[in-house]
Symmetry: C2
């Protein structure tokens, strides 16, 4: 729990810092999400290397996605993805019904607009992890009711 708090607090600081730079005119606001995403990407690359050090070779793409949903997610967010769906044509939807980085936010609808900045880092995290497993992808996130969240992974062939 302590660790988890450390990550959450630092994650919040990073968001604040990136957005504060933008306010000061040092960077356009639109680039903040990209910045957070690319930080997540590099962290994801690093983490997946550690996590897969002693695992068996993955059978296929679905096997990799399952690893992300179970092992990877548990290590980072202390729970598994609640639901994984796919159209078997390269699109995967990972649903987390209680996404940890959103649980500190009030569930009211008026805060929905602030959700994207709390998701950008994690989108990058997934993309970076997949990337180092040889899977190129685009990852986006969507929130309809907090703190539930859907991450959509589109595999790039």
């Amino acid at each position: 729990m302590a660790d988890d708090a450390l990550f959450q607090f630092l994650h919040n600081e990073v968001i604040q810092y990136v957005y504060k730079s933008a306010e000061n005119g040092e960077m356009e606001n639109g680039r903040c999400i990209t910045k957070l995403e690319s930080m997540g990407f590099r962290v994801g690359q690093g983490l997946i290397e550690r996590f897969t050090k002693d695992t068996a070779r993955f059978k296929d793409e679905l096997d990799i996605m399952k690893f992300i949903c179970k092992d990877f997610w548990t290590s980072v967010f202390k729970k598994q993805i609640d639901n994984l769906r796919t159209n078997h044509q390269g699109i995967y939807v990972l649903q987390d019904n209680k996404f940890r980085l959103l649980t500190q936010l009030s569930a009211g609808k008026q805060y929905l607009e602030y959700a994207p900045k709390y998701l950008a880092f994690t989108c990058g995290l997934v993309r970076g992890g997949l990337s180092n497993l040889g899977v190129k992808s685009i990852v986006t996130a969507e929130v309809s009711v907090m703190p539930a969240c859907k991450f959509q992974v589109m595999i790039q062939k």
Copy 2:
């Protein structure tokens, strides 16, 4: 271990990001350390609140410092401070013989100059933690041989 990696990777990203902003002329280089320190300060404030939620009231200043060296340090860095010394006049020296945020760096002398940026966040972390326990302080760090590190805490009356 996984968690720990998450914190380390994110910490590295934060350092890189803060220093990159400086390179682009958005901020003078000298302010980077301050930036990192103040991020650490706020994270330390948050963490200490969680950690002390169920602890007994502290007897005195030394009792607080012992808590920082044992419980706080273990939660964040997975080990205790190896040595705590004090002059009983408000100066404490916390020595960590294998400081986790320096272990990724090569122990060669030529990298000694890069150590300060890996210590600023932690200095803030300690200062923030102490601050929320009602102890105002100045925290500095010193490295002579990596990865050993000494944190000096000067209590402000």
